[in-house]
Symmetry: C2
Subunit: 442 residues, 2 copies
């Protein structure tokens, strides 16, 4: 049996503790599969004396992650601190500078600094792996980088945030409102105390930018991801969508066409017969469409200590297998950084599709006519329209409570919808800004 | 750029032609991802002059696969001949003996001779890869062997045969009978002229035996796979199942428990809220349950030249990346053959679950009482019962056309069902042997 692979673990939150628990529980199996043992040489975190549910006394403690990255007895640094910059990034840079392979679950850091780190790893002939950064325990980075490697991938999309999916599918099942379900998700540990990264779509956008780079061979470009979260999704939207044959899901979608990169995270209406429509709770799912493989779907637990640890340790086993004979580790983004294409962002206005539009309007005469005129003037064709309220006035005389007006458009260019909303801007009929959700196409 | 990876291709059916088409179409991309070009050094097939839809004149032709495997200008032999033994096996052995890596799409050969070939490859330090042998273009071998490598996998199951799934889902959609839909599948190229390997479950059993070995670290054991195909599934069964909230799918399922291996290919009733219930047409899907990752689902096109070629070339790209610096190729079954566990087959009688039983009976008095008595005597508890026929007699006096009696049992041991059927053996009330389909549990 070969020498053990020795790792240093920085960051001991739930995922860090999960990695230790996994390495202990499945030690024998991992050794048989990796061809050698994976041993924890040292650990580090902000607070040393905290109950993490695993016995830490067996492992050497380093207060200082700089020292951790420089240890002679370490082959791989596992970064589980989190955050795009700060101590995580410092550690990652130090690890590679000290000729240690790097494994991380840090989607924010990879989305913002992945190319810099990958270039450093490639130049040093070191592995940089981040399976756990996208879709928890689902081996989708591997699936794209290796499994679908023979394909020109034209589109990659999916449900990338378990918190949002839990909230949306619970709203769907119970008819309850967003704030109410968010509070439950927080109480049950499915959402953070500050949930904004999740519910505003930032977390999904990080993951999407990483997937897009690997799928299309393009340089990661996080900034232009069009990102809208789920805060404004109403129980009434979910009910309307259901009546029309759709579920609402937060979808991240990326496409490469004509040398341009389209990336969007948005609540979408998903047709009931689409594979993503049946992805419930905290589950994640990613679809990749290849020119030979066709449509591939990867689905599983998108978060949680067990699944995330599973992905971290899969990366470690890969490194243990690869580096046994000084083997090739491969480019982190499938293609060496220098050969990745810089794709300018695509203008979304040229996109075609159907959309769901929802207005909250003052219940008074002429409101519907005003909206319909804006649609007409902008060239938006309406397929179906629903008006809901205490008293649903379609041009009557009484003024009452605000009323919900929802519609589904015919297939058409997105720029027309944007134009219609521009025409309605500042209208006194609208109680709040309209909500647009696109409908996921085939 | 490094030296090209040079391959020899044996077998030029639809998949072989697909591999050539893929290597030509995506050549540039493959070179960027693999770090070097993949070049076809020579090809071989039974018939040289046959229109395969791709221009073969660019490639050297070897009439003799023995010569192909011995060529000095070849790094990898790609075996696409098919068949568990015969020329395919001879070529595979020759390739490894001549120190060529081996890539194959041949599930029958791997199910029967995979361990012998893997041992030869391991001893020679050569790659043996067979992603295309299971579930077409879906990277499920990689998903289990590498993606889920950190997990003790407790169960692996799925829809492994696209032909059967096409037939069952078409029967479901149209209400047509098996023979009728099979004829359509043959006409449309979804089923072979001799469809028995597919519809009798043998093809799915080959794939299941391969998945089980990789998932559980057990020696491949094809012979004990309990295999039942879909020939006896009636349109009426599908209609009954639908009324009860189930779809019928041919499922391969393998479990490792107490050092024993359970493997079964069988038409199952799949609850409508199960992810496999929505897998339609020729699609395949595999679920693996890991002790840390939880439930992983891999779904995509299970057959066809494009998807299968995608899997073959993914294997080639892996080899091109790995072997660039003389790197580690890893054990074909994740664990070296010598360390795989020999697991004796599990007795299915100890399994617990619900089942669907269907009888075609003579329409005469006392038949239902006879069946019910057998169930009672064997300790089978009935949850629901349906009797269908021209005249549905529940003990009446007229004797008419044969009648269908279907039931769903309560959760209980499978051996009781077997015992009930044994009690009914030879009964003159039964027009044909009963059909048992298990219900897929959580």
């Amino acid at each position: 049996m070969a020498e053990p692979l020795r790792i240093a673990l920085a960051g001991l939150g739930t995922v860090g503790a999960g990695v230790i628990r996994l390495l202990e529980t499945n030690a024998q199996l991992i050794e048989r599969r990796a061809g050698r043992a994976i041993e924890i040489a040292a650990v580090s975190a902000r607070e040393r004396h905290k109950d993490r549910g695993v016995d830490m006394t067996a492992y050497e403690w380093d207060d200082d992650t700089t020292a951790l990255a420089a240890r002679e007895d370490v082959d791989v640094v596992v970064e589980l601190i989190g955050g795009s910059d700060g101590p995580a990034l410092t550690l990652a840079r130090n690890a590679l500078a000290n000729r240690k392979a790097l494994v991380t679950a840090n989607k924010a850091m990879i989305a913002h600094h992945g190319l810099e780190l990958a270039e450093a790893a490639e130049n040093a002939g070191l592995a940089l792996k981040f399976e756990a950064a996208v879709a928890g325990g689902i081996p989708v980075i591997k699936g794209l980088r290796e499994g679908a490697a023979a394909n020109v991938v034209e589109r990659v999309y999916g449900i990338l945030n378990g918190t949002c999916n839990f909230i949306l599918s619970t709203m769907e099942d119970t008819g309850r409102d967003f704030t109410d379900v968010l509070a439950e998700a927080q109480a049950r540990g499915f959402a953070e105390a500050d949930p904004s990264f999740d519910i505003d779509g930032v977390d999904a956008a990080h993951k999407l930018a990483i997937l897009a780079s690997i799928a299309f061979g393009s340089r990661i470009d996080f900034a232009p991801v069009e990102t809208t979260g789920i805060r404004r999704v109403l129980a009434a939207d979910i009910a309307q969508a259901d009546q029309l044959g759709y579920y609402i899901r937060l979808i991240g979608i990326a496409e490469a066409a004509d040398g341009r990169l389209f990336q969007r995270v948005h609540p979408y209406l998903v047709p009931r017969d689409h594979p993503l429509a049946h992805v419930d709770g905290a589950t994640n799912a990613v679809v990749a469409e290849g020119n030979f493989a066709g449509r591939l779907l990867f689905q599983g637990a998108g978060a949680g200590d067990g699944p995330t640890a599973s992905a971290v340790v899969a990366d470690l086993i890969d490194i243990a297998r690869w580096s046994m004979n000084g083997g090739e580790v491969g480019a982190p983004f499938s293609i060496p950084v220098g050969a990745l294409e810089a794709m300018p962002p695509a203008a979304s206005g040229h996109r075609m599709g159907k959309a769901y539009l929802r207005f909250i309007v003052a219940d008074r005469p002429g409101v519907l006519a005003e909206i319909a005129a804006a649609m007409r003037d902008a060239g938006v064709s309406i397929e179906s329209l629903i008006q809901k309220g205490g008293q649903a006035h379609l041009g009557g005389a009484d003024v009452g409570e605000p009323v919900l007006v929802a519609m589904v458009t015919h297939h058409g260019p997105e720029r027309c919808i944007a134009e219609a909303l521009r025409l309605l801007e500042g209208s006194e009929s609208l109680v709040e800004p309209p909500v647009v959700m696109h409908i996921l196409g085939e």
